[in-house]
Symmetry: C2
Subunit: 392 residues, 2 copies
């Protein structure tokens, strides 16, 4: 099997590693630290800074394909490496749409993918004009670098808009604004695409965010018409094709009610890598997003994306405000004892409040029961406490 | 998560590694060579000889649990390490039954587990007497060290028995003989047990051997009464309990027709580690044998062993007599293109005729179709040829 290098050392790179091993390969990892989540479990770790061109070049030497577990490699570096003959997937021409929220929305408009009304914000006047245009329903976003709720603001008055935009522009933050949708829920349409053009979507998923961080995903999204389901899948494939994505693409969507009070969708954000809302595929789909990403960046034919069970629920385990006294290993033990069906995935990370430390997948026949188990299990791993008062 | 060391560097250790990573840990591996199957994919490799007490002691220092991917660590070493406070699982008192075929059969008899008639063979006279007793239906076995068809002989005449036994005893091979059963098929009843005594069987599997090597497994075993199915599962649990097994136990079984022409079973061999007939669990069961083995040796509660789909078929990819000209990567590509549902597992090993290089799992609703896909896929990976004449 060919050599793949992943730029990045987080849990996504770690989970790519397990997929690579089963495929007969092993990922090379460019890591910042030897004890980073992916570096801990990799036989071939190169230490370096992903923002340093020389570090990256040295790390990827001899790779058949190079991929990423984040979108932060500077595009000017990526372009130089491509010019030097390296096979980076996805390529900067696609990646830019996961890096720059304004460029992405302009592209969506161009390809007729639905997005909420938006505007570039280069002055306080741009911002107040947009505020008026959308009747105050403004969401302000840093064009670059935001994640997990960072880089997003919801000013509620014209004055707040003025103060905020003046400050952010003064700090050199490139901005855009978007109409805040009264959405009914968030969805995620995931797809993988190869450089040769094969694309396979997974069933669209319902996700739940808290403070801008994904906390739960239900696959397939419940209570949805076949028509809308199909529309989400087709949209994800169209975007992957139009943007020339290689690898996994997550299309985060808002579902909201249109003027006829019918559910419809708009694109929220794009990510071009395995995504939190795709972790369910590890235990709920024939092909996991991690295996699929590797196949895609190697331009191998893609795997079946069918579900294994009627329902899979994924719940993140995020670091609690204070780490419980009970050691994590003991918490895992208690969850295993109560829920033999829970699939526990841990990232080898130290506790920090709000940090993504792992997730729990549960597959089942019945939505409510499956979700209840996944939520109880994840809650116990985080808090060492049964939310339903259970005692062993 | 605790540190686990696995003594052994083959594909079983490799697949334990992927399970360990998802559980938030990483296996330490005692390997003979840095490029061994498991060593290639392990961040913590200790090079050494598993037969050398000092090598083993050094490798396992600081481990919370120590386990094996084979049964060949000398028991006197294992006992010394246990006396020194190391937590070896399974323990020699159990392992001896997977090491010595005579000790195993004597134990089976003691606990009333069904085995074919057998005898210790310490002289040519023992052998000829047994030959007469079973009307010439003799299978001769080396008590220790046999695997994949090695160490098993089927002499067909009294003279052959005499010559063979004289030679083997002369060479110092400890022997036993067993009545050759006219079996209808081979089955495998797999179970995991923790040191605390929790045991969970998987559904019994039908396996197919060629030249003594497992080539295919179908889960659950088709065409079987619920009563016999249950009997196999109960038998595996009983054996695990009576022998004090910790970890995964494979009970290889013969199915044959009793005097009333009803299917019944007898124990063939035992293995105390993940087993080839359990590879299907990676893609066909809620809990894979690799995750379960880790949970068991760590004395964690065991995972659900339910199937994900009505049928899973596993077919080994064994090295062909001559490696096809088409590179393995290209063969994998073609299989992926034709069968997106095939789960391909490769062990990172160089080609050798008959060598276990990987396996293919396919899950499905229909037995014949699922098996056909798994067999075609594995055949192509081995021979670069579609057995059904398909061309892309």
């Amino acid at each position: 099997m060919p050599v793949i290098t992943v730029i990045g050392d987080g849990q996504l790179a770690r989970m790519l590693q397990t997929a690579a091993i089963e495929l007969g390969a092993s990922l090379r990892v460019l890591a910042a630290k030897p004890d980073a989540s992916a570096a801990q479990v990799s036989a071939d770790v190169r230490l370096g800074d992903y923002k340093d061109l020389d570090d990256v070049r040295l790390a990827i030497e001899g790779s058949d394909a190079v991929t990423f577990d984040h979108e932060h490699v500077p595009n000017e570096h990526a372009n130089k490496l491509i010019d030097a003959g390296f096979n980076l997937q996805p390529q900067p021409a696609a990646l830019i749409h996961a890096q720059d929220k304004l460029v992405m929305r302009e592209k969506m408009k161009e390809i007729s993918a639905p997005v909420p009304p938006f505007a570039a914000i280069e002055s306080v006047e741009d911002a107040t004009a947009f505020f008026d245009e959308v009747d105050g329903a403004v969401c302000l976003k840093a064009r670059r670098g935001g994640y997990d709720g960072h880089g997003v603001w919801f000013p509620s008055t014209r004055e707040e808009v003025e103060t905020l935009v003046e400050k952010l522009l003064g700090d050199g933050v490139p901005l855009m604004a978007e109409k805040k949708l009264a959405f009914t829920r968030e969805l995620s349409a995931m797809v993988a695409r190869t450089p040769s053009g094969e694309a396979r979507p997974w069933p669209v998923v319902q996700s739940r965010q808290e403070n801008g961080i994904c906390v739960e995903a239900t696959a397939p999204a419940p209570d949805m018409s076949d028509e809308l389901r199909k529309r989400c899948e087709v949209l994800s494939v169209t975007i992957a094709e139009e943007l020339g994505v290689a690898g996994v693409l997550a299309v985060e969507l808002f579902e909201y009610l249109d003027d006829n009070r019918e559910p419809t969708i708009a694109v929220n954000e794009l990510a071009m890598r395995p995504h939190n809302t795709g972790h369910w595929t590890q235990d709920g789909s024939v092909t996991s997003q991690f295996e699929q990403h590797l196949r895609a960046v190697l331009d191998l034919p893609l795997g079946d994306t069918a579900t294994l069970k009627p329902v899979t629920v994924m719940v993140n385990t995020l670091g609690a405000d204070a780490s419980p006294e009970m050691p994590v290993y003991q918490r895992v033990r208690e969850v295993m004892a109560r829920f033999p069906e829970a699939k526990i995935h841990l990232y080898g990370k130290d506790h920090r409040p709000g940090r993504k430390l792992g997730h729990v997948n549960v597959t089942g026949e019945d939505l409510d029961n499956t979700r209840e188990i996944a939520e109880l299990a994840a809650h116990f791993i985080v808090h060492a406490e049964w939310r339903d008062g259970y005692s062993a």
